[in-house]
Symmetry: C2
Subunit: 415 residues, 2 copies
């Protein structure tokens, strides 16, 4: 028998781009020792830069411990211990003293699950969430596939240096409302993926004001908040008090990017909204994380000495170094590299190397890079960028892979 | 701003019964040393009987290990290593030699998530799944809350000794079809929760035939398959070949019951349906399990010596012993105890102790047990049993708690 209409449409007709390319890379991965002709994946946002530091830390005795009270149903939405530690971690690193309370934190199995859950709780099927384009493509998948929220993009432009303009969101919102659509929220991805920019206090404040003005939700994805490697001033929405947010602001973070441990499947939601917290508790069993892994994460975050003196300084230094390598290797090409301040990627304009200035040519270049160059980088059109020729390169692969990958890109571009 | 209509209706208007009672018990839990008047939870299906054995095993050096390849996105739907081990585990313990293939296995964060995912893939909103009543109440929640499948029950009766009659399912299916409803599948929970019965080969075969006849799905929840403690003959649907199942049969199992490690959040789906596997891969990121926990589970299952000589024999013996204790302590009351063959519970008829033979009186008794007796057991009406007076008692709590809990029940009944 066939599957449901919704499952067939969503999952059988085609495979989501990022997932598909990731799977293809996995089948034939590059290895400098045994598979020099394998695929280099600079499309999937993983952070390999601090593998050594994490390996040492996570293999310390006592990191994993079994106790009978971890065995049973407990902390489905976050153990008491871990949410307390997270609250302290956020208070000291993101909200700069504005006290974060553990009872407003929920732990889920990754930020994809968090986005799916928020879409269910904020939108009825077909309701709209606004998002800046180019955007990390899985926002659309995560909120749309099963939860049926519809994402509508507002395109940022290269001429504007990809700056966020809240007034353009307002204009779009009013237009959609006039058409009878229900706009229920805005996603603010800060630091931004794929641009690598950090949006300043003024911009974030403007988005909060906008959401309050129209009584819609602000979904703040700050999963790269601790991967800022220049002097950009970043304002986390965690700085807003309960009173300021009116229950409209929902903060997202996880272990997959700033720590590069996607394998843990640990995401975090913070919100002042009591209704949202209650709804998240109700659906907690579908997004639950192993209590044992929560315990491991807890121990990592409790070791502030390690965080401050070993992990973060090194990770940040290595990210900065990776971005410098991109400029070094590709700097003499006729391209534009947007100055990245944060994140695991950078955003580049290869339009001068397209056959024609259209999306077909961009995809053609992507395919040449993928099939001939054996290097996977994501073309801008997959992120909703309509100006052809832009690509996102993941820079947080290990240095030797980065250099091989960039060299392959250069060879294809200049061939 | 308010949440979506669907989130408000599902999660804000009331809290699901099992979750609510569980949360209340957690606030004031019984402890023989420091809280003798606390709540005894014999409502939530946890297995505490083998805590000692698991504690020893899971704290062995090397059970948890971090390697860089576990750090990144890998095995979102089950690592290669773990699915291979699961395939061997099932082949030797459940399908008795019918070879189970790892590529037909998906690992998810608990069987609740599995049920939610299957409901999405099998049903469009409002489509119907048939289920025997009384039933584990969360089938209805897991498949209905976010995935909007509608569960319709077929009531088993005490007179029939709660036997499953496939012809009653067929009759209901035809009736619903006549009413224009779309019936898309049947849930077969075997061994059954809450009855504790094992359904034999003939019955399971009949259900397969029925599903094939009407081209509907068979969702086989066998989460208690390795907790059978008498000589009942059990037929897992894993015994059916690809050819026999016509892609209609989906097997569910997990670590929460047979190993009692709900804290791991590890569930397993096996299916021969290529479409279902593809759909599960598509939604894999929402139901993913930590790679590290998959590694721990893998190591547990690879130690067949420990499974065969330590864990299973002891766990089974202790389950059997618990059921004997129930008969010993409550045996002189005027009640009926259905002979349980498997699982963590037994099913009892307290109707002689109701004020009147109606559901209100059953709930009144539940409340007296909960509020005065400080013991939580689930009333049959919560499982869809319309004959008043039935209750499910979880027997897999530690022996001292079991004895205190049963004594409290006895005191309330005979007060």
């Amino acid at each position: 028998m066939s599957l449901s209409e919704r499952a067939s449409t969503t999952y059988l007709k085609n495979q989501e781009f990022l997932m598909k390319c990731f799977a293809l890379c996995l089948k034939n991965p590059y290895c400098k020792k045994i598979n020099k002709d394998g695929m280099i994946n600079m499309g999937t946002a993983v952070n390999q830069l601090s593998e050594d530091i994490l390996q040492e830390k996570l293999n310390q005795p006592g990191m994993f411990e079994h106790k009978p009270d971890l065995q049973h149903y407990c902390g489905l939405n976050g153990t008491l211990e871990f949410t307390k530690t997270l609250a302290n971690f956020f208070t000291s690193r993101l909200s700069h003293g504005v006290e974060i309370h553990p009872e407003k934190i929920r732990v889920v199995n990754g930020v994809s699950s968090a986005l799916e859950a928020l879409a269910f709780c904020i939108c009825d099927p077909g309701d709209i969430i606004l998002i800046a384009l180019p955007t990390y493509a899985r926002f659309i998948a995560d909120m749309g596939e099963r939860s049926n929220a519809k994402l509508v993009g507002i395109e940022l432009t290269a001429e504007d240096n990809f700056d966020l303009k809240p007034e353009r969101f307002e204009k779009e919102l009013l237009k959609l409302q006039e058409q009878g659509e229900k706009v229920r929220g805005i996603i603010l991805c800060n630091p931004s993926n794929p641009i690598g920019k950090v949006y300043n206090k003024e911009t974030v404040d403007d988005f909060l004001d906008l959401c309050i003005k129209y009584n819609i939700h602000l979904i703040a994805d700050e999963i790269y908040a601790l991967s800022i490697y220049d002097n950009s001033k970043f304002l986390s929405v965690l700085n807003y008090t309960e009173n300021q947010t009116k229950g409209l602001v929902h903060f997202l973070w996880g272990f997959s990017k700033d720590f590069g441990i996607a394998g843990f499947r640990v995401g975090v939601i913070h919100t002042h909204s009591k209704d949202m917290l209650q709804a998240l508790d109700g659906l907690g069993i579908y997004v639950s994380v192993s209590t044992h892994i929560q315990q491991v994460c807890n121990k990592m975050l409790l070791d502030t000495d390690w965080l401050d003196k070993v992990y973060f300084p090194n990770n940040i230094k290595r990210l900065r170094n990776s971005f410098e390598i991109v400029k070094e290797v590709l700097g003499d090409l006729d391209i534009r590299i947007v100055k990245a301040s944060a994140g695991l990627f950078c955003w580049l304009d290869f339009s001068k190397y397209l056959e024609k200035e259209d999306t077909e040519s961009e995809i053609k270049l992507f395919k040449r890079l993928f099939d001939e160059g054996k290097v996977y980088i994501v073309p801008g059109s997959e992120f909703g960028c309509t100006t052809p020729g832009w690509f996102r390169i993941i820079i947080s692969v290990s240095e030797d892979i980065l250099r091989v990958g960039l060299t392959r890109i250069k060879q294809i571009l200049t061939a």
